[in-house]
């Protein structure tokens, strides 16, 4: 087998893994869009916020320490305790649920029935707000996040593939974990939406708000729930990316990686988000591998979008959307 082909296979596998991470971020968008028609620009910032909170809780940071110190001249930093990862995740989840309740109560309850672009705009306001709160609460230094996920080359795969091709493939353990967690997450979501009462209510709302209302489903409750679930997905994404790069402001930019996935997979389709993520991941990595060196590299940022754009021109309804029949 030629070297290039072997390399391409490695790139392909890594693309799949990267795709899983993209899909994870995109999932958060899909959940909210499907249930409430809100294009949640704040999803990336939510990931940042949840990761910041997680680290803050784990390290026993005093929230708003900087503000308190500046205002009262105190010198607070840490409570002096450390919370184990699992407990901290639960506590962070509680914060995200609280956030969901606040978002629903103070923002979207007042914007029911507005046009999508207005709702979109509100989430932008929310993103700004959360960014400010997150920084004020936990400070803007880079924080190391370690909840015990393995990282680094998977030696087993390296050795096995070396035996096969004479070249060991590089697969990151973190990516493998991410893939497993993403699979679990999606399974859990599917089970939740298919087999629980709340899940069915959520799907009913997604299909038709009015009809759901008329059979006595509380929209308010459903939306809080959806935002909570999206908060949970954001937390998972935040942990994955935060482990890679440390928790810092740039974490909010991962949202940009999810947008082409959404275009490809559709804003309302969970399988679309996953398959779309995989296609984007593989596509951009292979393009960078094959064409990148010819045009000077660093193509990944735009290639994902161009790929999605070309795809949409030929199939405007996205991957899993039904053919749009226009009526008047």
């Amino acid at each position: 087998m030629s070297d290039q082909l072997v390399f391409a296979m490695e790139v392909f596998l890594n693309g799949l893994m990267a795709g899983v991470l993209y899909a994870l971020v995109a999932l958060g968008f899909v959940l909210i869009y499907k249930a409430s028609g809100i294009f949640n620009y704040a999803q990336g910032v939510m990931a940042l916020f949840s990761a910041l909170t997680l680290v803050g809780i784990m390290e026993g940071q005093v929230p708003f320490a900087h503000v308190i110190n500046a205002t009262f001249g105190t010198d607070l930093h840490h409570f002096g305790w450390h919370v184990p990862g699992f407990v901290a995740i639960l506590l962070t989840m509680a914060v995200m649920v609280l956030l969901a309740i606040c978002v629903q109560k103070f923002v979207f309850r007042h914007l029911v029935g507005q046009e999508p672009i207005i709702l979109f705009m509100a989430t932008i306001g929310l993103a700004y707000f959360l960014e400010g709160v997150g920084d004020l609460m936990w400070g803007s230094e880079i924080k190391k996040l370690d909840v015990g996920l393995p990282q680094g080359i998977n030696l087993m795969i390296d050795e096995t593939t070396f035996g096969w091709f004479g070249y060991g493939f590089f697969i990151d353990n973190l990516d493998i974990v991410a893939t497993i967690i993403a699979a679990l997450l999606v399974t859990a979501l599917v089970i939740f939406s298919q087999y629980t009462k709340q899940g069915r209510a959520m799907r009913a709302v997604a299909d038709d708000h009015q009809a759901a209302l008329s059979v006595g489903i509380s929209l308010n409750f459903i939306w809080v729930m959806v935002w909570s679930v999206a908060g949970f997905v954001a937390l998972v994404a935040g942990i994955m990316w935060g482990t890679k790069s440390g928790v810092q402001f740039s974490l909010s930019l991962i949202a940009l990686k999810a947008l082409p996935v959404l275009m490809l997979g559709g804003f309302t389709s969970i399988p679309g988000a996953i398959v779309g993520g995989l296609i984007i991941g593989v596509g951009e990595k292979l393009f960078e591998f094959a064409i990148g060196p010819m045009v000077g590299g660093a193509t990944e940022n735009w290639f994902a979008y161009v790929l999605a754009l070309i795809f949409l021109v030929f199939r405007p309804q996205g991957l899993f959307g039904e053919k749009i029949i226009e009526r008047v």
């Binding site: 790139v11 803007s140 680094g152 790069s245 440390g246 974490l251 590299g297």
Partner: protein, 427 residues
């Protein structure tokens, strides 16, 4: 009614004017945004040094220093706003810590007669004082940095890099592309292979780049990164088990922030630097006593000794020394921007002086002149010890290959002069 208004206006005018003599150092900092982690320690160091001088010595030459901090968020437009807002306050020297803002400010400071000090960043060819009258980038610039990296590798390899492969991982922006030309020249001179690997902003996802490195197996990797790109690159390098001692960053890829998230895997990572690292300097005891313990520290006081804090501290020291020089030249304590320029052009940093300041061997000793605003272009290599969580210098402040760099500086600055009809000075 009219009278009242007039007195009020007069009052406002008086209040706006300088109440007492002071030396103004605007600090265009960024404590927010994607690069906050780099901006905070630098700005803390910059502030703390002046606070130290005020508290301990009562200012510089008896005149208090006043730092006006202005948040830019690494945003060029805010940088311009900050510049315009502070220049009327009697600003002596600007230190924007952003290549983008530097480029905005070069023409502006030149027109306004204020000095701009871009230490290890900004426009490299500003080292040519004949063209850039108001811009200084001593003691070292990007091209020195590139050369220093190569010199270090030459040293390890017994002076011969022939046939070696060096990869440059760089932030795909004007900043990241700076070293390319120098490295290309050096690769011709020393016969090593150079491969260029760009990473697009922000650089969170570098799988492709590091797979490529893993495939091509370069002997050394050097990095021009900033922000999240650094942390991810070091993590990915660890992931592919690239030997850390063969991975060398420029000074902007060499702070604690960059290596800490990777944990022990980052052990042995190297970065070139133009100032010393660590907190083992007498002056920091003074900082503790006069600044931190009095609750006057700009930040939380926990950054002392980190690479970027030291850099900010060093920048402030160089500015203060330039003020002192200007005070000596002009015999005036409360100097203005024009005098500051003279002070910067006549600045001389000696080992004795640094020792006097409680900062022995904190940076190279050098002398600025009208022609040379770039200083000596020397630097040292620092290495990260992950268990002790400290940087330490593993070399002296060595010279870079000016034979290669000077022609590049001359060419670029002359092109700028031609484009903007600037007559050369210092003749």
């Amino acid at each position: 009614m009219k009278m009242k208004l007039a007195t009020m206006a007069l009052g406002a005018l008086m209040a706006a004017g300088p109440v007492m003599a002071d030396l103004v150092f605007p600090d265009l900092s960024y404590r927010t945004g994607p690069y906050a982690a780099g901006g905070i320690p630098f700005s803390d160091g910059y502030n703390d040094y002046f606070t130290l001088l005020n508290e301990r010595d009562g200012g510089i030459g008896g005149v208090k220093a006043r730092v006006i901090e202005c948040e830019t968020g690494y945003n060029t437009e805010k940088g311009v706003e900050c510049y315009e807002a502070t220049k009327g306050e009697g600003a002596l020297v600007y230190q924007p810590l952003s290549t983008g803002i530097t480029y905005q400010l070069i023409p502006k400071v030149t027109a306004d007669g204020i000095a701009l000090h871009t230490m290890g960043y900004g426009r490299t060819s500003a080292a040519n004082g004949k063209v850039f009258s108001n811009v200084f980038n001593y003691p070292a610039n990007y091209w020195n940095g590139a050369s220093l990296v190569v010199n270090h590798l030459l040293e390890i390899n017994g002076g011969d890099l022939g046939g070696k492969k060096i990869a440059l991982v760089y932030h795909n922006s004007a900043y990241g592309k700076e070293p390319i030309r120098t490295l290309e020249e050096l690769s011709k001179k020393h016969g090593f292979d150079l491969s260029l690997i760009p990473v697009d902003h922000p650089g969170q996802e570098q799988k492709s780049q590091w797979l490529q490195i893993r495939r091509e197996r370069p002997d050394y990797v050097t990095m021009w990164g900033w922000g999240v790109m650094n942390q991810v690159a070091i993590q990915e390098a660890a992931n592919i088990r690239f030997p850390m001692e063969n991975f060398i960053g420029v000074w902007w890829s060499g702070s604690e922030n960059d290596v800490l998230p990777a944990g022990t895997a980052a052990n042995g990572y190297k970065a070139v630097t133009f100032h010393n690292v660590g907190s083992d300097f007498p002056v920091f005891d003074d900082v503790q006593a006069h600044v931190v313990d009095k609750g006057l520290a700009a930040g939380a006081g926990d950054q002392i000794g980190t690479a970027l804090y030291n850099r900010g501290f060093y920048a402030a020291m160089l500015a203060a020394e330039a003020v002192r020089t200007a005070q000596e030249i002009h015999g005036v304590a409360d100097i203005n921007a024009a005098m500051m320029l003279d002070g910067m052009e006549a600045l001389e940093i000696t080992e004795d002086r640094m020792a006097e300041l409680g900062m022995p061997n904190f940076g190279p000793s050098f002398k600025v002149s009208c022609e040379n605003h770039g200083g000596p272009g020397t630097g040292a290599m620092a290495q990260w010890d992950a268990s002790a969580k400290t940087w330490s210098l593993i070399s002296d402040f060595n010279a870079s290959d000016m034979e290669v760099i000077q022609p590049l500086i001359d060419a670029d600055s002359n092109a700028y002069a031609a484009e903007n009809n600037i007559a050369t000075r210092c003749n």
